[in-house]
């Protein structure tokens, strides 16, 4: 059996966690993996706490939802508070937006803060692309998909008029992830 990773993005509805999950899932397909993805839907996705789940595996996936996340990416405090209770017992990694989330102290869980919203506002002049900064950083930290697959996934999934800023955000995020921390 190959590796199976369960990733959950969470945040406020409107922060773009669904798009981040979809882009990651599509990138994993480009990498030759099996992927299942599911999102919050309806009213949940428009305010409140939104989530996007991606299961990536070397083999066909039996159960397509996240049972417990190996990687949790949190963009808001309320979503963090909900989903931190559901991370894997062993080896879970939490990546959070350091402006939006005050992490709680947890034993055995590695938690990494990324200045995604801060960078989006000050460096990219668009708060909307914090999700792409976060996605880029998360992929740099976890190497869950190939960098090039991720970039082409953004190019194929984002409307043309937003493409450049999203790709830039992803690359800035990737750099942040590489600089910030790289656990081996």
């Amino acid at each position: 059996m190959g590796e199976l990773k369960q990733i959950r993005f969470c945040g406020f509805g409107g922060q773009g966690v669904v798009l981040a999950g979809t882009i990651l899932g599509y990138a994993a397909i480009k990498d030759g993996k099996w992927v299942s993805g599911s999102n919050s839907y309806g009213a949940q996705a428009r305010g409140g706490s939104a989530r996007s789940e991606v299961v990536i595996s070397d083999d066909p996936i039996k159960f397509p939802h996240v049972i417990e996340s190996d990687i949790l990416v949190a963009l808001s405090q309320s979503a963090y508070d909900v989903y931190i209770k559901n991370v894997a017992e062993k080896g879970a990694l939490v990546i959070y937006d350091d402006l939006m989330v005050q992490p709680s102290h947890l034993r055995g869980v590695q938690q990494i803060g990324v200045p995604a919203t801060n960078t989006a506002i000050h460096e990219l002049e668009s708060k909307q692309v914090a999700n792409m900064v976060m996605l880029g950083a998360s992929v740099a930290i976890t190497r869950i998909v190939n960098r090039q697959a991720l970039i082409s996934s953004v190019i194929e999934n984002v409307a043309e008029r937003f493409r450049d800023v999203n790709v830039k955000a992803l690359e800035v995020g990737y750099k942040l992830g590489e600089d910030h921390c790289c656990p081996e």
Partner: protein
């Protein structure tokens, strides 16, 4: 009926579609070129994608005023020669039942996709259920047979939509793809192969389009505009479509034939998938999304050395009575988890003598693998 191999409408390769998008692509691949529908959560993404993609294949898309008009429009298009589909969810499926009965009696091949949501009534539009299975069997009045499929993945939303069109064409019958919200909105890797096997309705100029008194098979089907005299009526009719509303023999023969043409071919229509059945003492019988949870659960329980198996139903109607009867003879107990109040469990009980344990969940959520593991452990 003729069979042919055609090139796929999408480039071969891997895609990351939602189940609802996969239905649209499956329909296009199968040759569907007419769509009439009314949008409804949680199925609307199919309609949206069809409305965009039909431009590439010269299809005709129309948003009707409601689901009654949608099914009637689809029936009309099929008799004009098209392969046609409509997609809906429970409340729309309810409205379509009159048209479905008409399609069954007129032997109109068409595909209806029902992305099931929590009912009855308007229920919970964004939440999952599989409560429409008996409606797919008994929704319209009178005695008729249909075919209902139950996909468990995005790949099968694509593959079974193609199958649905092929079965409809083969047997001249309405075919239902009984999807569920959780599959409609799931995104997964989906493979498009280079070619697709397609079946087309049989043509035999001059032959009666509604069978004969003797025949138990599937009559050829002309279309309007092909030069034949063609009458299509929802009243009882003879082999040429002429109304016979007071003739007991014609009615009995017609009703018997439209039932038998499915029942006599049941062995080639029914599809199931066995997992770990050989020495299983408890067999989980599941379908749709719940079969994904069940496979995960059964796999885990096997790793613990528990003698548990899974029979997955890929088709719901006609019912897989033969294999259910067989597993009922070898297993100690059957366990049937369902996102309804036991619709398939009741059907299973007609064919087995062993205990059939239900697990019914109607809270608008999927049945979690851990719940299945817990329940099955308590039976061991």
């Amino acid at each position: 009926m003729t069979r042919r191999k055609i090139d796929s409408t999408l480039s071969p390769g891997f895609y990351y579609f939602s189940g609802n998008e996969a239905v649209a692509e499956g329909a296009i691949a199968a040759g569907c070129r007419y769509y009439a529908g009314y949008p409804i959560t949680p199925s609307s993404e199919t309609m949206e994608r069809i409305s965009i993609r039909f431009k590439d294949v010269d299809g005709v898309f129309i948003q009707m005023e409601d689901e009654i008009a949608s099914i009637c429009s689809v029936i009309g298009a099929v008799w004009a020669g098209a392969k046609a589909m409509t997609v809906t969810s429970g409340p729309g499926f309810s409205l379509m039942q009159e048209g479905i009965g008409y399609a069954a009696l007129t032997e109109t091949p068409l595909v209806i996709v029902d992305i099931q949501r929590a009912g009855p009534g308007t229920g919970q539009a964004t939440r999952v259920a599989s409560g429409d299975l008996m409606q797919a069997k008994w929704g319209s009045h009178g005695d008729y047979q249909t075919i209902a499929l139950s996909p468990w993945s995005v790949q099968e939303m694509y593959d079974q939509t193609i199958d649905a069109f092929n079965l409809a064409e083969k047997y001249r019958v309405p075919v239902f793809l009984m999807g569920e919200e959780a599959i409609g909105h799931l995104r997964e890797r989906m493979e498009v192969k280079p070619t697709v096997d397609i079946f087309d309705r049989a043509k035999k100029p001059g032959a009666p389009p509604f069978g004969t008194n003797q025949d138990d098979g599937i009559p050829p089907m002309p279309a309007f505009g092909e030069g034949e005299r063609l009458l299509v009526t929802g009243s009882t009719h003879n082999e040429f479509g002429i109304r016979k509303t007071d003739d007991p023999e014609v009615h009995a023969n017609l009703v018997t034939r439209i039932n038998n043409k499915i029942l006599k071919h049941r062995e080639s229509i029914i599809k199931t998938e066995p997992y770990y059945l050989d020495d299983a003492e408890i067999i989980v019988v599941a379908y749709g999304f719940t079969a994904r949870s069940s496979l995960f659960a059964v796999d885990r329980l096997r790793k613990e050395g528990k003698k548990v198996g899974l029979l997955r139903l890929k088709t719901i109607w006609p019912f897989a009575d033969g294999i259910i009867h067989q597993i009922g003879r070898v297993a100690k107990k059957l366990f049937v988890p369902e996102m309804n109040r036991g619709q398939v469990r009741g059907e299973i009980m007609k064919y087995v003598a062993c205990e059939v344990i239900p697990y019914n969940q109607t809270n608008g959520d999927i049945i979690h693998p851990h719940e299945i593991m817990k329940q099955v452990r308590s039976l061991l």
